[in-house]
Subunit: 299 residues, 2 copies
């Protein structure tokens, strides 16, 4: 089981809240791991870990999401079941407490993969998926960032912004099934309607028992153009690489031209864990039957 | 150069309009091919072909789009440049005459890949991208289908629907650069907010000079879960398969469990063309310096 809380540059806010981040990362991976120990599925475990991070104010997903250019919180999330090779995703959803759980509902109960905006919200209302008021999602740090950025940039400048800030989880269960999930609140002062990698199957999330499960983070557009999550699965499918080698190959070799941050966590059906990133930091934690709990933020 | 006008089951409407479809497919491929002959880029050519199909009332993209459950036209499109390995996409966009051209604008002029709904429309307005009134997009055939379907299905039944109806193009230019583009009007009576494969990089559209350019069509959810377009590129990257073998492997072998329609057109930097589908029909046409114009609808 591995989880991440985003990759990118360091910041004063991260340094000031180091203990909170470390506690949150630890709790997130333990939450999913306990689900696995109790016999839960990989899908159950990644949902539980991501729910924990969505509910934690320090992480940019669910509660604590970034505030976009319109002063609104719009969230993206996705989940994929590596046994059934089936995914669910939501984009630009508002008011849903746990976007990844709505993505799971879509995966399990519909023939759609991806629902957006009002369509996703209507489904959540119809199916009694937990909603919260707009105010629930806001924290004062994100509000301060929004106020600081709001009047600085023209639309043209907004269109040039790189965007990151994500949480995610990957897990392998006792039946050897793998799953991946990713969730995000987007970027401070981003253009309304911008969709990032966190809801793109193949880009930010992918899972297939035959290869691996991957959750990505970083500057979303590079994860989409590089089809990063599925690229790692393809390396596993067609070469003799280990999971760690496949992650390193895709992040540091195949995408070394990328002038931005990309990072991934991954597991395979043997329970191996692969983690790779090219940024200053990637908030992350992992543990398995072989590896005791690890919590790291920097290289 | 190859183009498609969607894969799926046969219908009386198709039979009754055979001549119109054949003329449209021929004109679409010729439109892009003329761009290439005049020294235009692969990106220019796929945009020109898809624009033609978006403007043709018989095809479900741009004008002639399907009408969703709310009685609205929401369109998805994407484009990818195989030289720069860079993409642009729009989802759930209204009133934009040629969604693929807005996707190209996003690819060329922003650091975003994907914009949705109001965000995409606002950008189109700001940048003087051609808009049309709601009524422009409606044709009487799509309206009849909408009226027939509208009151038949509950939300739960809508969520079980399989969705298809797409146009797309792939091209290789005189510099050996490849590109792919896909555009769709969605499905009659679909839930508002449903996003299909046509705007998903890796799923419905992918291009990379080192491997190939692919545009997919069929039941969109299978193209997303199977990351179909990028899967074909991965077969080319890691095996000795020809482009046609790679398309057949992904459609007929790796996804033979899929209970739905999937089809692809593809080109590589040598100018080879690969076409494969598992459905009753895929509207398609292709031509190259080696192959005279071909127009086909059935197997």
């Amino acid at each position: 089981m591995a989880i991440h809380g985003g990759a990118g540059p360091d910041s004063d806010y991260i340094k000031q809240n180091m203990q909170g981040y470390e506690d949150g990362l630890k709790e997130a991976v333990m939450t999913g791991y306990k689900v696995l120990e109790a016999g839960g599925s990989a899908v159950d475990a990644v949902e539980a870990s991501v729910n924990y991070l969505e509910n934690n104010l320090l992480f940019n997903a669910g509660r604590g999401s970034a505030i976009n250019h319109k002063g609104e919180v719009e969230m993206d999330a996705s989940i994929m079941d590596g046994e059934k090779i089936k995914a669910g995703a939501v984009s630009m959803v508002k008011n849903v407490k746990n976007p990844v759980s709505l993505a799971r509902y879509i995966m399990n109960n519909t023939n759609h993969v991806m629902l957006s905006d009002h369509g996703a919200l209507e489904l959540a209302k119809d199916e009694d998926i937990e909603l919260e008021a707009d105010a629930y999602f806001i924290n004062s740090h994100q509000y301060d960032l929004f106020i600081e950025e709001r009047d600085k940039k023209s639309t043209q400048e907004l269109l040039k912004q790189r965007i990151h800030g994500t949480v995610g989880a990957v897990a392998m269960d006792e039946n050897g099934n793998v799953a991946a999930a990713t969730s995000t609140g987007g970027l401070t002062n981003s253009l309304g309607g911008r969709i990032g990698d966190s809801c793109i199957i193949g880009g930010g999330t992918y899972a297939n028992n035959k290869t691996c499960a991957v959750s990505g983070t970083g500057d979303g557009e590079f994860l989409i153009n590089g089809v990063i999550a599925h690229s790692i699965a393809s390396v596993i499918e067609y070469t003799q690489s280990t999971l760690q080698e496949a992650c390193d190959l895709v992040i540091h070799e195949k995408n070394k031209h990328v002038e931005g941050d990309i990072g991934v966590i991954s597991v395979n059906a043997n329970g191996d864990i692969g983690i790779s990133f090219n940024s200053e930091r990637m908030h992350r934690a992992w543990m398995s039957t072989d590896v005791p709990l690890q919590v790291k933020i920097y290289n």
